[in-house]
Symmetry: C2
Subunit: 384 residues, 2 copies
């Protein structure tokens, strides 16, 4: 099968770029002396998880219990569910543990910690828990100085249905950085904060074997990770235009793209219409805050090449994408080369969101002698 | 089963609100003397389509061929695929016609029209086609004065593999209106433009039995639809916060919501964390341009009631939603009433995008004596 046989829109994964992205971060984790526990919320795909865990402990990170169940069925037993647990989900977590999974749950809340202990005892389970701490992201996590840090640790250790496994943080503020030096500083704040939280627990006589940190930018640019035991980057496997804009990769590293077809031309507005709209690309607008704003995606030729003038998906509705020249007030796309039926590839703003609209990946080896050959279809898990 | 038995996030559909929304637009279509051909891109669900077509011709509108195939399997034979057709999709359309579907395809491009005729002959099919015209939306469609209008009509009528079925337009600029008077004016521009295009075709000796128009705002507010044969609103079945903001409905008409659970509290930032983030709510930011900007959704209590101070989902990451008081610089949500584990319902900015993340709808009758009882699960079709 070839790319030309696929219905559009379709999600394309370049395996060679994927492997190179993984090799780069895997080597960094090794050189920094930490385990790589890749966050599978981006790929949600067992084939990608096998590549991303090779040479490391085999542990993974997930963002939903449905992912945890899927990956356990595909041979991954050591799973950190890195989103604060809602107590009503504990029965489902216990059921997965009863099948043999080693789950690590996360909370930043004393009430939830107590509830985990009580429900664990009721369910005949021992829930291992990481305490989430905030190293500057301001999304979730206890403040590093919070009295609740030791209180949560103690509540978990003292309850028969729970156990303290360590601390976890995510320096998501790295996404706000616009130069490498700032990312290095965020990575150090993430490292130092996580280690500080671990030391506070240990000083209180509590165990803290796991000190878990990491976003894609901080994993790639961290100067050292002393005291950290594992990193959990996610989007690094695919990368995207936003990551390229903040210095995590080059545009030519982006491994996922949306194959689309030109369906109309509107010379009076200097616009093309393609059949990839807001559902096919997602409505993520990450690059609105980046140096280069590519709208809903950066348009390339059918081989993700740079053979066309720079074009963006400027507007979307549900199934329509409106393509314009990037810097082209008044300038028109090359209509003669982009007749209706022409295939294009759109590089996503944010790979995690774009990929979520699809059942799986059509896999190609883009730098091979047969870049159009679809060598496989790798399913992904969606939903909750 | 009750709402409290559902894992969160979950998509909830209030059947009573759905039925009332449908009854209102169905009655309007009848009083205006047009067929209601509901756009199923919003609900993508056979149960909703059965309710939305009752009392009308039974024809529906879809945005993908996958929807067309799904609805045909569920008993809907008369289907308009209202997105400009890519020629490579014609074989799939022909296969559906061969099973008995009456498809209407759409184009605004002379090259594509010729290709449809050629491919129809090759495939042994006759493709019925609506010519899309632009009545002010600026997304797709031929200009009303374009020479291509008659040329496309003639190309279709003269080809053995194609037939001209009429004209189609969508006045999406109604979404930019902020008062009813403006929407009435857009509805009239949509009506008059579609009729003008039909008259041009007829004056050229071409047939034009179908004159198809309509968005939810224009369907609801049109003064008259003389010359129009059918309307194709979509989001009216569910409505959403954006539609409420532009006067298409009241907030209490919104029939879909996302059931979510509080997972954390951050009093120092006056924020709650819920387990519905950017995937569960979508990253649609329609209300950014509305009088009331509700971020990623308007937060209500577990019965979609107004018993709480107005709160929005102010920020999202993939599985985290950050909830803040709407007007509350410095004011905090009622933390004591919103402990971790508390269930909330989030009304979506844009129902079409929020619903697309789910496999189906958990159905309740919200105004009944048992508003928490889940009376059914209605699957939906996603993807392409």
């Amino acid at each position: 099968m070839n790319l030309s046989d696929l219905d559009t829109p379709a999600l394309i994964l370049d395996r060679q770029r994927l492997q190179a992205n993984i090799a780069r971060v895997s080597a960094r984790a090794k050189s920094l002396g930490v385990d790589l526990r890749p966050h599978m919320k981006t790929a949600k795909c067992a084939e990608v998880a096998r590549l991303a865990t090779a040479g490391h402990s085999g542990g993974i990170t997930v963002s939903t219990l449905k992912e945890a169940e899927y990956f356990f069925e595909h041979g991954f037993a050591d799973i950190t569910y890195a989103v604060g647990i809602a107590p009503a989900k504990l029965a489902r977590a216990a059921a997965l543990q009863a099948k043999g999974a080693r789950l690590s749950l996360v909370t930043d809340n004393l009430e939830v910690a107590r509830e985990i202990g009580i429900r664990g005892a009721d369910l005949g389970a021992t829930f291992e828990v990481l305490i989430e701490v905030d190293t500057g992201d301001g999304r979730a996590g206890l403040d590093l100085e919070s009295d609740d840090l030791v209180a949560v640790g103690r509540a978990l250790e003292e309850a028969p249905g729970a156990a303290l496994r360590g601390v976890l943080t995510h320096a998501g503020q790295s996404y706000d950085c616009r130069d490498i030096k700032s990312i290095v500083a965020v990575a150090e704040a993430e490292r130092a904060g996580a280690v500080q939280a671990a030391e506070r627990l240990r000083a209180a006589g509590l165990p803290c074997p796991v000190v878990s940190a990491g976003s894609t930018p901080t994993a790639i640019h961290a100067g050292n990770l002393d005291g950290i035991t594992e990193i959990r980057p996610g989007v690094f496997v695919f990368q995207d235009v936003f990551q390229a804009e903040i210095g995590s990769c080059a545009l030519t590293d982006i491994a996922v793209s949306v194959l689309a077809t030109v369906t109309g031309q509107h010379p009076q507005r200097a616009e093309l219409v393609i059949d990839a709209g807001g559902l096919a690309l997602s409505k993520d607008r990450s690059t609105a805050a980046a140096p280069r704003d590519v709208g809903y995606g950066l348009v390339t030729d059918s081989h993700c090449g740079g053979d066309l003038p720079e074009m963006h998906v400027a507007r979307v509705s549900q199934e329509h994408g409106i393509v314009k020249l990037a810097n082209g007030a008044g300038e028109a796309p090359p209509f003669a080369r982009l007749r209706p039926g022409t295939r294009l590839r759109v590089l996503p703003n944010h790979a995690c969101f774009t990929a979520a609209a699809y059942e799986g990946y059509h896999v190609v080896d883009g730098a091979s002698e047969t870049p159009d050959e679809v060598v496989g279809f790798w399913p992904r898990v969606n939903g909750w």
